[in-house]
C-alpha cells in the first residue's frame, strides 16, 4: 500500500550517475527546486549546501550505473520474518561483494511448487554513492532509501498503463541510454548503455544500435524469442527521440511508441519547467513511489532510517497536538471574549431597564414599596380563601334547626379538616318527643336535609350519615322494647361544594 503523494514525508531526492547528479526537494507530494549537480567536488559542495539549507531532511537516492547486478531467483513461499531471513541469506550468497542489495518479490510461480519469483539486485560497486553518503552522514541526516533506476520504471509503467504487456522502456539519461525490460509490469532486465556520439553522425543511430543489442540480450536470456515483436516505449522528456522511430521499423521486430514531454508532465503531475534540461527529474519524481522491497540500504542505514522516521512521526505528533490544542484554546478564548462582550452588553442593558423601571415606579414610592404592597395583598387573599367555609354553613344549619322544633341538636361541629381530612359540617341530633314512630322520624330527618339543601351554598352536599333506624335490607337489625327510653338519634353531614 503506497502513501498518497500529498502525505509523503518531505525529503531530498538525489539522482546519481557516473556523468553527474540531480537533486530535488519533495514537499507535500510536489517535486520542487530540481537542480543538476556537476561531477566531483563542486557537486558535493552544492549538495552539502542543500543539506545545510534543509537540515534534517532524509535523502532518497536513485542510482543509475553500470555497476548493477540482477539475478532472477525462485524461493519457497514465506512471509514476514521468515521471508526476510530467507532473502537476506540468499542475497549474501548471490551478491556477497556489496552491502547494498535487495530482493524484489515479483509474484508467485505459476505452478504448484509454492514458490515465488524474486529479482535479486545490488550495487556491485558502491563507489558512486560513497562520497554522497559521507556528506549525508556529516550533515547528521540519514538515507531513507537507495534504489537502482530500473526499479523506478515499475511505477512509471503502471502510471502509463503499460503493466499488462511486455515492453522495453528506453530513456536518455545523464549517464547514458537506460534500457529496461518489463513483463506485465515486473522488472526482468535492465542495462545502462554508454553513449558515444562520436561514432555516428546522428546519435540516434547509436541509440538504435543499443536497443538492438538489448533485444539480442533478451533473446539470449530467453526472455524473448527471435520472432517476437518488441514493444519499445521511448520516454522522451526532452522531445529529442522522435527520429529514433525511423531506425526501429516494424519489419525489424520493433513496435515503437513515443511518450513525449507533455504526456510525461501530465501523467506525473510535474511542473513544466522540470524536464527542460535533463530527464533525471522524471526519475526523481518516481523516487517516492519506488517499491519498498527494492530498497538497497543496508541494515544499519535501515535502522537509522526507521529511528529517524519514528522521531519525525513523534515530533510531527507533538506539533500536531500542540497545534490542535493552541487552536482549540484560541477558539475558546475568542469565544470567551465574545461572551464577555455579551455579558457587558447585558449588564448595561439591565442597568438601563432598571433605571427605566425605577423612574416609572418612583411616583408609587419606588419598586420596593410597590412590591411590598402587592405581596401583602396577595398574602391577605391567601388567608381570606381559608375563611369561606365556616360561617355560611354553620348559620344555615342553625337557621334550619329553628324550623324543626321537634329536633333537638346535641352537637354541631364545623371543621376545615374532619376525620377524613376534608372540610365539612356535622350535626348530631335527637327527635323529642319520640313515640316510636320511626317512619315519621325518618321523614322528619329527610325534611331537615331537604331544607338544608335549599339554604346551603350552591354546590354543597347534605346527606344523612346515620338514620334514627337503619332500615337497609342488606343489614341485620335487632333491638328490644320495654327496658329503655326510645331514641331517634341521627347524624347529618354537610360538605362544601368544589
Amino acid at each position: 500500500m503506497s502513501i498518497p503523494d500529498r502525505f509523503q514525508p518531505a525529503r531530498l531526492l538525489l539522482y546519481l550517475s557516473s556523468a553527474g547528479a540531480s537533486c530535488a526537494l519533495l514537499r507535500q507530494g510536489r517535486v520542487e527546486q530540481a537542480l543538476a549537480l556537476p561531477v566531483g567536488e563542486e557537486g558535493w559542495e552544492s549538495f552539502n549546501g542543500l543539506l545545510i539549507e534543509h537540515p534534517g531532511l532524509p535523502v532518497a537516492i536513485a542510482v543509475d550505473t553500470v555497476d548493477e547486478v540482477y539475478r532472477q531467483d525462485l524461493l519457497p513461499r514465506a512471509r514476514g520474518r521468515d521471508r526476510r531471513e530467507m532473502t537476506e541469506r540468499r542475497l549474501r550468497q548471490l551478491i556477497h561483494h556489496s552491502p547494498y542489495q535487495a530482493a524484489l518479490r515479483q509474484g508467485p510461480l505459476n505452478d504448484d511448487s509454492q514458490r515465488d519469483r524474486y529479482l535479486m539486485m545490488g550495487l556491485s560497486s558502491p563507489d558512486i554513492i560513497r562520497p554522497w553518503l559521507d556528506i549525508i552522514h556529516i550533515r547528521g541526516t540519514y538515507v531513507s532509501g537507495i534504489w537502482l533506476l530500473p526499479t523506478l520504471a515499475i511505477s512509471l509503467a503502471s502510471r502509463f498503463g503499460l503493466h499488462k504487456s511486455r515492453l522495453l522502456l528506453v530513456s536518455e539519461q545523464t549517464g547514458g541510454l537506460r534500457l529496461t525490460y518489463l513483463e506485465q509490469g515486473e522488472l526482468r532486465f535492465s542495462r545502462l548503455a554508454p553513449v558515444d556520439s562520436s561514432q555516428h553522425e546522428n546519435p540516434l543511430e547509436g541509440y538504435a544500435e543499443e536497443i538492438e543489442r538489448t533485444r539480442q540480450a533478451l533473446v539470449g536470456q530467453r526472455l524473448l524469442s527471435r520472432s517476437d515483436i518488441l514493444r519499445t516505449v521511448l520516454l522522451d522528456p526532452l522531445n529529442s527521440l522522435a527520429g529514433l522511430h525511423t531506425f526501429l521499423p516494424l519489419t525489424s521486430g520493433f513496435e515503437c511508441e513515443l511518450i513525449q514531454r507533455a504526456r510525461l508532465l501530465e501523467a506525473l503531475a510535474l511542473p513544466p519547467d522540470l524536464l527542460t534540461e535533463s530527464s533525471d527529474a522524471l526519475y526523481l519524481r518516481l523516487l517516492p513511489l519506488a517499491p519498498a522491497d527494492g530498497n538497497l540500504i543496508n541494515r544499519e542505514q535501515r535502522l537509522i532510517a526507521r529511528t529517524q522516521g519514528l522521531k519525525r512521526v513523534l515530533r510531527g505528533g507533538a506539533r500536531l497536538v500542540l497545534g490542535i490544542s493552541a487552536l482549540a484554546c484560541a477558539t475558546l478564548l475568542i469565544d470567551s471574549w465574545r461572551l464577555n462582550l455579551r455579558a457587558t452588553e447585558a449588564r448595561t442593558s439591565t442597568e438601563q431597564l432598571r433605571r427605566q423601571e425605577e423612574s416609572l415606579l418612583a411616583r408609587a414610592g419606588g419598586a420596593q414599596a410597590l412590591a411590598h404592597r402587592l405581596a401583602a395583598v396577595e398574602a391577605w387573599h391567601q388567608v381570606a380563601s381559608d375563611n369561606d367555609g365556616f360561617q355560611p354553613g354553620f348559620k344555615a344549619m342553625l337557621d334550619s334547626l329553628t324550623r324543626f322544633p321537634s329536633i333537638k341538636p346535641q352537637r354541631i361541629e364545623w371543621s376545615n379538616a374532619l376525620a377524613d381530612g376534608q372540610p365539612g359540617l356535622l350535626l348530631e341530633a335527637d327527635i323529642v318527643p319520640f313515640e316510636g314512630d320511626y317512619g315519621r322520624a325518618q321523614k322528619l330527618v329527610e325534611d331537615l336535609v331537604a331544607d338544608l339543601r335549599r339554604h346551603l351554598k350552591a354546590g354543597s352536599r347534605a346527606q344523612v350519615a346515620a338514620w334514627p333506624l337503619d332500615t337497609s335490607s342488606q343489614l341485620g337489625l335487632e333491638g328490644e322494647f320495654g327496658h329503655s327510653r326510645l331514641s331517634a338519634s341521627f347524624r347529618i353531614e354537610v360538605r362544601p361544594g368544589p
Binding site: 522521531k311 490544542s325 475558546l332 469565544d335 455579558a343 402587592l374 341538636p409 352537637r411
Partner: protein, 188 residues
Amino acid sequence: MKPRTAAPEPRASLLLLLGAVIAGAALLALGLAVHDQEARSADKYQILENQARRASADAPRRLETDRNQAGLYQHIRNQGFLGEENRAAWITALGQLRTEFKLDSLAWRLEPRALSSKHPGLALSRMDLTASRLDTAGLEALLGRLRELAPGRFTVEHCALNFESDGKRGQAECGLAWWTWNDPATSP
C-alpha cells in the same frame, strides 16, 4: 566540517511528544476554564437582563394593580395583618367579650407562632377557645365581635357547639388561626 553524531534513540522525541500532550492539555484546560467562567457570567447577566426587561415591561400593570388595591391595602394595614402580632390586644379583646356576653367562663390557649407554607412571609398562631353556656346565635355573634375588637386577622379552623339538655345553649369549642405577614424582602 565536524560530523554530527549518529541518530540517537527517539527518547527525546518521545519526551517532546509527552511534553506537547501535557502542554496541550494545560492549554485546553486553561481555555475551557476561561470559557466556562465567561459562559456562566454571560448566562447570569442574560438572566438578569431578562428579569429586568420583564419587570420594566410589567411596571405599568403593577402600578395599575397597586392603584386598584390601594383601599384594600389600607384595610389590611388597619386590620393589624402586617408586621408583628399584637397578642396583648387579642387577649384583652377576649376579656371584653366575656364581660359583654356575660359568659360563665371563656378559656383560651395560644400556641407559638409558626411560619405558614401558604405564602412567603405568612405566619400563624393557633388559638383554642372554649366558651360555656353560649346559645346558637351567640357563637356567631361572639366571633363577629372578636373580629371587631381584636387588631388582627383570624380564620376559624374548626368550631363545635355541644348543646345542653335544653337544646338551646351549650359549650362552644373553636380553633382559630391568627395570621400575620412580614415582608420577606425586608425581613432579616
